[in-house]
Amino acid sequence: MSEDFKNNKEIHAQSSETISGGTGGSAPDLDYVRPAEVSDQDLYHGHSFITKWVFCQDAKIIGIQYFCLATFTGIIGLILSWLMRLQLGFPEAAGFMTAEHYYQFVTMHGMIMVVYFLTALFLGGFGNYLIPLMVGARDMVFPYLNMVSFWSFFVAVLVLLASFFVPGGPTGSGWTLYPPQAILEGTPGSGMGIILMCVSLILFVAGFTMGGLNYLITVLQARTRGMTLMRMPLTVWGIFTATVLAMLAFPALLVGSLMMMLDKLLGTSFFMPTILKAGEVLEYGGGSPILFQHLFWFFGHPEVYIVALPAFGIISDLISVHSRKNIFGYRMMVWAIVGIGALSFFVWAHHMYVSGMNPWFGFFFATTTLIIAVPTAMKVYNWILTLWRGNIRMNTVMLWCLGFIVTFVNGGITGIFLGNVSVDVPLSDTYFVIAHFHMVMGIAPLMVIMGAVYHWFPLVTGKFLSEKLGKWHFWTTFLGAYSIYFPMHYLGFIGVPRRYFEMYDSPYMTSAVGMNEFISLAAFLVGAAQFILIFNIIKSLKTGKAAGKNPWQANSLEWLTPIVPPEHGNWGDRLPVVHRWAYDYSVPGAKEDFITQTTAPSEVTDTKVEKT
């Protein structure tokens, strides 16, 4: 094995001789950066196909693996949503679908999209690829653990998909998996389906914990020289905070799943009170279904921010780069991310206002929930103030950013409806809720993902994606998705409850048949539009325009590797030294409109840099 390390033998800690990172600067004091605290990372270089591409320890490859697998499950989720919309819009055309099928599709769609698609994509995909590059590390700090993390996720996905093929099919208890119905007859997949779901979640949590430890320690302990926390790009801040949330919130899900599995398999009564079913009293008693809801939402609400915070971070970077302007109020942005993350552990029961919990909780949770609105609003202001007096490149990436702002503000404001306890009473469990959370944590993060794909594709592959196809992709997705979810709020106002297989002839629904058909058509279109991206990726990989180094003229470290796309170890034989934050765009007096993070102060003495 020793020859695997030979490439690394010559790398030593940078001693104090190389302190001034610049070009032998004229004013060494100006460019002084402390020497490295720890010696350079010792990396395992794979040789065979298996160690290079399959069981790979390179965070960038792992990131791509996460990305591909998450996208694959995401496509399954998308197909499920098509089937659901077919049933809701055109029930006569969906004759093959029974209520059981419908509920199974609803459940798997929700679970896949939230956990196996968005969480895995943002943290596993973008996190793995970007964190080491952006903080100037050679790799994640525990590459082996990182590899195991991905393969646990892989097994979790396999178990999840296996539940489609077991007797009774996958669980159909809604993505919230509320007991008692999740494990009782009368809910589809209450046998093997729910067990496999719990097993899959436990595997996911275990795998994610391994990955999460990597992300956290890499950010905390393996930054490069000069990279302080307050110089990190907001992308890293978002992913970092989201990972902290995940590390502390997933335990509740793990415990909830474990206890529910015991209720199902051993007949314990953690969540099961005395139950009368088909005239027989079941052998349960004394448990509390609301306990599961508390555990689930103690995980579930931070989970919302696990998806949202990386999106916040990434979008901040994209807006800043493509407006050629520093992100407005960077410190406020960081504190808002941290504050939202911390507060998210004190708001969980706003999902449970009408669950029959202690009614006095309503006051506490409404207050904490609305407090969260303040830092979130600050972030929105700072995004649009970043656009203000910028020099906005209206390319595809920027379009996705603008689409994000519209959908996120829309979904955020409907969140204030649902967080405010008595306003939630008429709206909860209706289509208003569905419209809200799809807008705010479905479409808005999707916009960010797409923007990020168009932005970082040149880094990962060295080729640009086609702008023309990108614009088609954006406009169909944005306009389509908006016309799905904006009108859907009004279904909620009418009072149409969610999770209804069909409405029969209720007076509430008859007035909305036309709207439902329209929503379904839009959903088919939006789903289909995503295949433009896949086509675009394949086409651009073959014939795309070569991107070269730093094609967007960005400042952050990931664009500054000696070789593009970056190779294993990222930085060649010399780690970068950071002298400033990642947002020095359009600094007065500078020759170009960007100053990279590695530019030494002595090189730009005649500029008016305010913050370093």
Binding site: V38, S39, Q41, D42, V141, F142, L248, S288, I290, H294, F298, F345, F346, A349, M357, N358, W360, F361, F364
Partner: protein
């Protein structure tokens, strides 16, 4: 992983401190066992249990896990998340009291 090929030896603590803490832990465990042995009841029992528990936990964390000697950055990162747990405990106490109250009211008392 980080190579700590440093020439100087990492300083360690005198063995006495460990033996002291060890002894204290035995004594505290013995005390908490005595709480049960003498069958104290009510508030006295609960407060004694909690005091001994937190003392033991504190000693283990502070000295065996070296938290006392760690820098505040690490200590604070580890202890602040406990506020979320504290909030969860506090609210679940209110919740179980409410559940018990409704169960007794409607399933036993009636009316």
């Amino acid at each position: 992983m980080v190579e700590t090929d440093k020439k100087e030896q990492t300083t360690t603590h005198k063995i006495g401190i460990y033996l002291w803490i060890w002894g204290l832990l035995f004594v505290l465990s013995f005390f908490s066992y005595m709480v049960d042995w003498y069958q104290f009841q009510g508030m006295l029992r609960w407060s004694l249990i909690l005091i001994f528990m937190f003392l033991k936990a504190g000693l283990i964390m502070a000295f065996f896990m070296h938290l006392f000697w760690e820098r505040y950055a690490l200590v604070n990162v580890l202890l602040w998340p406990m506020t979320a747990i504290a909030c969860f405990i506090f609210l679940m106490v209110a919740e179980f009291k409410y559940t018990l109250f409704t169960r007794l009211l409607y399933f036993f008392v009636g009316g």
